[in-house]
């Protein structure tokens, strides 16, 4: 029996729930937490440059193909700040207790549902678990897991 603790982006929660349902996992606990990873790891789900309006692009990255007039003073993006200690961002913590054999498919599902390839996707930790007890009837051990 293992406890899987996953820390994921808040916006991926519904996809994750659907993916877990597809796998036949019904029991999961979701917590609202705030967290951060490594100092350089702060980044939103979509990179900022994709959504930056044209007015905030540097002159050499005009994407409409029009020539930039000489002497034009286009607003440029603010200078990038040094990566420092990031603030705590809202995340969702997901706790699943699973049989040993189910750990690997669970992790694969969680990774597939949450991977965007950008920093801040989250972590999954697997911890040993000694026993589980069903409160309803006092059932113990592996059979207490659904």
């Amino acid at each position: 029996m293992k406890k899987i603790i996953a820390i994921i982006r808040s916006e991926n929660v519904e996809e994750t729930k659907a993916a877990l349902k597809g796998l036949g996992i019904n029991g999961a606990t979701f917590l609202h937490v705030t967290g951060r990873g490594m100092p350089e790891g702060l980044s939103p789900a979509r990179s900022l440059s994709e959504e930056r309006p044209a007015a905030f692009r540097a002159p050499d990255e005009r994407q409409d193909g029009l020539p930039v007039p000489k002497g034009a003073t286009l607003p440029v993006s603010p200078p990038k700040t040094k990566p420092g200690p990031a603030g705590f961002l809202p995340q969702r913590m997901l706790i699943i207790v699973a049989h040993d054999a189910d750990v690997r498919p669970n992790i694969n599902t969680l990774v597939a549902a949450n991977q965007t390839g950008r920093h801040g996707d989250g972590k999954i930790f697997v911890c040993p678990m000694i026993s589980a007890i069903r409160v309803r009837n006092g059932e113990q051990g592996d059979s207490a897991l659904a």
Partner: protein, 126 residues
């Protein structure tokens, strides 16, 4: 690799986080919880406050950093008592350390196993 669950006073959490960050431990998860340990007799009039707001920090660290982190948390999260210096007060919190078998980074699907030579559920104390 070990997981630290530290339950501390909310008013001390920023201090603890800053102290950890100074030694290079910046990745952590924090959550607001309520509960009580030995401070059950927190009476205000006739009301017994049994759900006292606390803050819980979850930190996963390589084995070599765990003792340092625990020392920092237990020093910084301690309240200072004038009449009994060096001793904290009831309600300062608890630190739990558990084993972690695997850690996966979702971004790269990278997998770090637990340190070799340690059994899954038992081992020497930190």
């Amino acid at each position: 690799m070990k997981m630290i669950w530290a339950i501390i006073r909310p008013e001390y959490s920023q201090r603890v986080i800053d102290a950890l960050e100074k030694t290079g431990i910046s990745a952590m998860t924090r959550m607001n919880v309520t509960g009580h340990g030995a401070e059950t007799e927190l009476m205000a009039g006739l009301v017994n406050y049994s759900e006292i707001p606390k803050e819980m920090l979850m930190i996963v660290l390589p084995d070599i950093d765990v003792a340092r982190a625990v020392r920092i948390i237990s020093t910084v999260a301690k309240t200072w008592q004038k009449e009994n210096p060096g001793h904290g007060a009831v309600g300062d919190g608890k630190i739990f350390v558990t084993y972690v078998d695997d850690a996966h980074t979702i971004r790269t699907a990278e997998n770090k196993k637990r340190s070799p030579g340690l059994p899954a559920t038992t081992g020497p104390p930190v």
